[in-house]
């Protein structure tokens, strides 16, 4: 049974890594267009999706995140030419490893969002939150010492 049916109050903790040039600007556009998404999403600004070290994602899950999403520029549009291609490959590998150890694929996601796609950003975040809500709390990889 999904976690949220037992516990209606469950609010996921979602970390979003957004590249400075496209998706962070897309998030800003979602904001200035007042396109809401749940407050569970907390954005960390990085220069490029290629800057997202797999260690950051593991750290987030270890510290209790229920979902992690990486947003970058559309393929071909990377401000640094190729960063998003590296991110895409790196994350494909990491996500399959995470699934192997029990962090479901739905908890991790890579999404391309341009600076003009405020609506897409908001839609993606709503969908992602819904997905995490249905998956419930992440129990794998959590640092047991951090739980109270």
């Amino acid at each position: 049974m999904p976690m949220n049916e037992e516990n209606k109050e469950f609010r996921p903790l979602i970390v979003a890594f957004c590249c400075n040039w496209c998706s962070y600007a897309g998030a800003d556009l979602a904001g200035s267009s007042r396109l809401s998404y749940p407050a569970d999403v907390k954005i960390i600004r990085v220069p490029c999706s290629g800057r997202v070290n797999p260690m950051f994602i593991l750290r987030a899950f270890e510290r209790g995140a229920d979902g992690v999403i990486i947003c970058g520029c559309h393929p071909g549009d990377c401000h640094y030419s190729t960063g998003n291609y590296y991110a895409r490959r790196r994350m494909a590998l990491l996500f399959s490893m995470l699934e192997y150890i029990g962090v479901e694929n739905g908890r991790t996601r890579v999404e391309w969002c341009s600076a003009a796609e405020g609506a897409k950003f908001s839609k993606t975040m709503n969908e992602f939150c819904e997905k995490i809500q249905s998956l419930g709390e992440n129990v794998r990889l959590g640092d047991l010492r951090c739980k109270n």
């Binding site: 903790l13 407050a39 907390k42 220069p47 490029c48 800057r51 549009d77 401000h79």
Partner: protein, 666 residues
């Protein structure tokens, strides 16, 4: 430990309406490192900045966290403010509690909680910030304009008049762009070529302008102030230095009469020879040989043009040439085209030669056009009596596969212009315009449209055309619905003119990718800020001019071209530019010289050096990565690729991002 000051902005009610600002101040006051926290109505105002400066001095702050709007908006402002008070500008972090919090959340408690978390993450990050110093890079005082239409021409002239050198790269054999195809311009009915041709000549004769026509940008590297651009000068097969532009070759080319090569300039309404100038006033007045169609290039026989040329300028052996030029700034003025109408089968564009696009109508009405300016049907060369104009063909379209969601902006006006011009010449023509809305904002625009309705009695019907059916007698049956009285209309027409949607030039995507300039879903280039920086790309040193940025008419294009030129002049006037200090750094003790980072670096900024290191008391020589700070753009690709964790990015270090993750997940 840093001494951090936290400043929470109300932004009027933009933030304060949904975030309890006072509560945020109370909750972050006891975060590690924070020695001072306060709130203010407008942090970016002069009084707000004064408050920050005072606090820096009074509490000897070493770090600042501003909880306000997006750092894309005011990070610069607050960094400058910190610098004024003697603090390193890179000791400032902005927590985005407006765009990413107050504006998207309704519940005050929830938004306040999130604002506190975002503030904590920024505080945790500032604790690990280090003062950074900007470097300097020289500026190449030369600009490149991609596209030689009216936008590119105006930008180049303005830059050149200010005393800087400009190169124009145009992929067609002549500059002039779309405007050179037009007959008249609205709302004054000036003749397009009468106002454009003098500018084209001026470009050609300007001592500061170099023209690369029939050329394309092949490769771009470098960064603001220091771009290296490879330009491919396609083989014209005519020596431009020898050619006098007499036109003998085009006149004698056997394919001119029998070749069936559609003229691109006349939108296929007439044929052209294989050696040709697009139009009589072409600049430069040097023909090109279309090698794909030329008999000599296909079979090795013919060679008439070479024999006939009085100045022996035809050169079949000419090769493409690639020149590399350095530029300080690049302006994209690639312009537009109209959409392909294959998906609009209901209008019978591909079936009947009497269904034409507006740009084809421009050619038909132009005195230099295929019919000498006499309006006639392409099927039987008779003058049309009943003409139907269909607006919004592909503009404001719900279906994304079929058309475009946006308004093409110029169609309402040019249709009114066409209707008036036709009525002026042939007053007994019946003209009907089917429209969704008539949009005429602009100086003297609505007056112009009303003249079409009131003086010229053009019949405007609000309604969409469902089908255009070619009839056996050669006429066209237009089936439409009048939306105002709900009636079906069946109308006979001799000619149907489609106001096809405008789209950015198809080549712009490739250029945007080369320039790493942002582009939106419709392939229009994105501005750095939609309102405040409308002619700059988010990529430094790239500027936007004309339709490449969005649909606009000629006066707007010319204004934007001038604005882009001013921005370029402002950049080229500087001798040095500050460089981004958020660059990669290599920890030589951890680096094992594996080359992984050098392979992923898009700028070739990483090289290897043998250095002496002391490891556990042993002195040894190791091959380690070295970052060239002038080339590094700070993307951080190397940092996540490095298997030993030796590479790190200043300003976005591994520790800083990890600590942000920790603060959010606390």
């Amino acid at each position: 430990m840093q001494k951090i000051g936290v400043f929470v902005c109300h932004c009027g009610t933009n933030i304060a309406a949904t975030v309890d600002v006072k509560k945020v101040v109370e909750l972050v006051r006891y975060e590690p490192g924070v020695v001072f926290a306060d709130d203010y109505m407008y942090m970016c105002s002069e009084a707000g900045q004064e408050k920050i400066i005072e606090a820096i001095k009074e509490y000897k702050l070493t770090g600042l966290v501003i909880c306000s709007c997006s750092p894309r908006m005011h990070e610069k402002t607050f960094r400058a403010c910190a610098e004024k008070a003697g603090l390193n500008p890179y000791m400032v972090e902005v927590a985005n509690i407006r765009e990413q919090c107050s504006w998207i959340h309704k519940d005050k408690e929830e938004a306040t909680k999130k604002a506190v978390i975002l503030a904590r993450a920024a505080i945790a990050k500032v604790n690990l910030n280090t003062p950074l110093k900007e470097g300097e890079s020289p500026v190449t005082k030369r600009a490149l304009v991609i596209g030689g239409g009216i936008a590119g021409i105006q930008t180049a002239l303005d830059i050149a008049d200010a005393g800087y050198e400009v190169d124009i790269v145009e992929k067609e054999p002549s500059i002039g762009g779309r405007m050179s195809q037009f007959d008249k311009t609205f709302p004054t009915l000036d003749c397009a070529s009468c106002i454009l041709t003098p500018k084209m000549v001026e470009v050609n004769q300007h001592p500061n302008i170099t023209l690369y026509t029939y050329s394309e940008v092949e490769k771009v590297s470098g960064y603001v102030g220091n771009f290296d651009v490879d330009i491919r000068k396609k083989a014209r097969s005519v020596d431009a230095d020898k050619c006098t532009g007499c036109g003998e070759c085009s006149a004698k080319c056997p394919l001119g009469k029998i070749g069936n090569i559609p003229s691109e300039f006349d939108r296929g309404l007439r044929n052209r020879p294989a050696i040709y100038m697009p139009f009589a006033q072409a600049v430069p007045a040097v023909p090109v040989i279309d090698r794909a169609n030329c008999t000599y290039f296909k079979t090795g026989k013919c060679g008439v043009c070479a024999k006939i040329c009085p100045s022996k300028a035809v050169d079949y052996e000419q090769q493409d040439e690639i020149v590399t030029v350095k530029y300080g700034a690049i302006v994209v003025a690639t312009g537009f085209d109209i959409i392909n109408l294959d998906k609009f089968g209901e209008y019978a564009y591909n079936e009947s030669p009497d269904v034409i696009t507006s740009i084809e109508l421009e050619r038909l009405m132009n005195a230099a056009g295929p019919t000498g300016g006499h309006l006639e049907r392409m099927s039987d060369h008779k003058q049309p009596k009943d003409i139907v104009f269909i607006q919004c063909v592909g503009s404001r379209c719900d279906s994304e596969e079929k058309g475009k969601p946006y308004c093409s902006k110029v169609c309402c006006m040019y249709t009114a212009k066409h209707a008036m011009l036709i009525k002026d010449h042939w007053p007994d023509t019946n003209i009907t315009v089917f429209y969704i809305d008539v949009r005429t904002p602009g100086k003297n625009f609505d007056e112009f449209y009303r003249r079409a309705v009131e003086q010229y009695h053009v019949n405007y019907i609000k309604g969409q055309v469902g089908k255009v059916k070619p009839q056996p007698d050669g006429s066209l049956l237009v089936q439409a619905a009048d939306l105002l009285d709900g009636k079906q209309i069946n109308m006979k027409a001799d000619m149907v003119v489609l106001a096809a949607a405008i789209e950015p030039n198809p080549g712009v995507r490739k250029i945007a990718t080369m320039l790493t300039a942002s582009i939106d879903n419709n392939n229009f280039l994105t501005e750095a800020h939609a309102k405040l920086r409308p002619v700059e790309s988010p990529t430094a040193g790239i500027f936007l001019s004309g339709m490449a940025q969005g649909p606009k008419d000629i006066p707007e294009t010319v204004s934007q071209a001038g604005a882009a030129a001013v921005k370029v002049i402002g950049l080229l006037a500087k001798d040095h530019l500050k460089t981004n200090p958020c660059t990669a750094q290599c920890d030589t003790l951890l680096c094992n010289g594996c080359s992984t980072c050098a392979n992923v670096c898009p700028y070739g900024a990483i090289t290897y050096d043998d250095v002496q290191v002391m490891d556990h008391g042993l002195r040894e020589t190791r091959r380690v990565a070295q970052v060239n700070l002038a080339l590094c753009q700070g993307c951080g690709a190397c940092t996540s690729a490095c298997p030993s964790g030796a590479m790190d990015l200043q300003g976005f270090s591994n520790r800083q991002i990890t600590t942000e993750v920790d603060a959010i997940c606390r």
